[in-house]
């Protein structure tokens, strides 16, 4: 119970720190997603005239980019912030007894809140453009949960190792850059050469992002089998990350 309130307080503080001193404060965390959404829809869809192959809808490309980028931002944000979180919060860790994983939980929670705000506006947009609502959209929270679990496991491992080797953080930043361009988010899968296409299913981000795209853009079922495999892999990663933290926690605390 007390741990939950600790995580909540840290998350709240994270938001208020981000906008501390600004007049509009929390309103900024509503404005930024709207602006992003407008950019995706207008710039990518209308002005740059992006069309998805086989789709005549002018917003189709905008929707495609949105359902790729919004989850991706949460994913990347969680991992890159997590990889530095122990060092960032060392003054807390070295003074009060605080369970190390709860720091990652709050990072993920903060990203999840941003995600939910963005998705909220996105659904409003879908409603006004008379987009077809599909039963599969009920899966979105679970997809997001799975993606953040993966980010959690990955972030936890990165956070633990970064304490010993600062370079990990930079390596992660670089990896995430490559990862972004290796995942069909702003482009469509078909433009990739066959060799790359064949290894794409092994990209966890692809499995997730493609599911969103199928649900929102193409109106088809996600690949359930791939999602189950991904769930199992994610939990193996979680298991391994947590085990690593356990093994190294004493050293992590000593070094901070």
């Amino acid at each position: 119970m007390s741990r939950a309130s600790l995580i909540w307080e840290l998350t709240k503080r994270d938001f208020s720190e981000k906008f501390a001193g600004s007049v509009l404060g929390f309103v900024w965390s509503l404005i930024l997603p709207i602006v992003n959404l407008v950019i995706y829809m207008l710039i990518f869809g209308k002005i740059m005239g992006g069309r998805l192959p086989g789709k005549s809808d002018i917003y189709a490309y905008g929707v495609y980019v949105t359902v790729g980028l919004v989850p991706w931002m949460a994913f990347v944000g969680s991992i890159s912030r997590a990889s530095n979180i122990f060092l960032e919060k060392r003054n807390l860790i070295s003074k009060v007894s605080i369970p190390l994983p709860s720091l990652l939980v709050y990072v993920n929670l903060a990203e999840a809140i941003t995600f939910m705000i963005s998705m909220g506006f996105f659904f409003i947009f879908l409603f006004f453009t008379h987009h077809k609502f599909d039963m599969n959209m009920l899966l979105v929270p679970f997809l997001f949960y799975l993606q953040q679990l993966f980010a959690f496991g990955f972030g936890l491992l990165a956070a633990t190792l970064t304490v010993f080797l600062r370079d990990i953080k930079e390596v992660i930043t670089l990896t995430l850059q490559f990862w972004f361009w290796f995942t069909p988010i702003v482009y469509v899968r078909d433009i990739l050469p066959d060799a790359v296409k064949s290894i794409l299913p092994y990209n966890p981000a692809y499995v997730i992002i493609e599911s969103y795209q199928r649900i929102f853009v193409f109106g088809t079922d996600p690949n359930y089998q791939a999602l189950i495999v991904m769930t199992l892999c994610t939990h193996l990663l979680l298991f391994f990350s947590y085990w690593t933290l356990r093994a190294l926690e004493k050293d992590v605390r000593d070094f901070l």
């Binding site: 679970f142 769930t231 979680l238 947590y242």
Partner: protein, 59 residues
């Protein structure tokens, strides 16, 4: 119907976790939680298409 099933499954999972947290189980607790979580999510992705198919056949 689908929504109700998802909600029920989620609530069941939450209840199990809550009960588990209350009972303790010490240092192995987190590993158990990871296991429950995996069952929960696999369940969602496994039963969702089945339930949906069932739902669509219904008039």
């Amino acid at each position: 119907m689908l929504l109700a099933a998802l909600l029920a499954w989620t609530l069941l999972f939450a209840a199990v976790v809550a009960l588990f947290m209350k009972r303790g189980y010490g240092r192995m607790r987190v590993y158990w939680l990871i296991f429950f979580n995996a069952v929960f999510l696999c369940g969602v992705f496994w039963f969702f298409p089945l339930l949906k198919g069932f739902h669509q056949i219904q008039p």
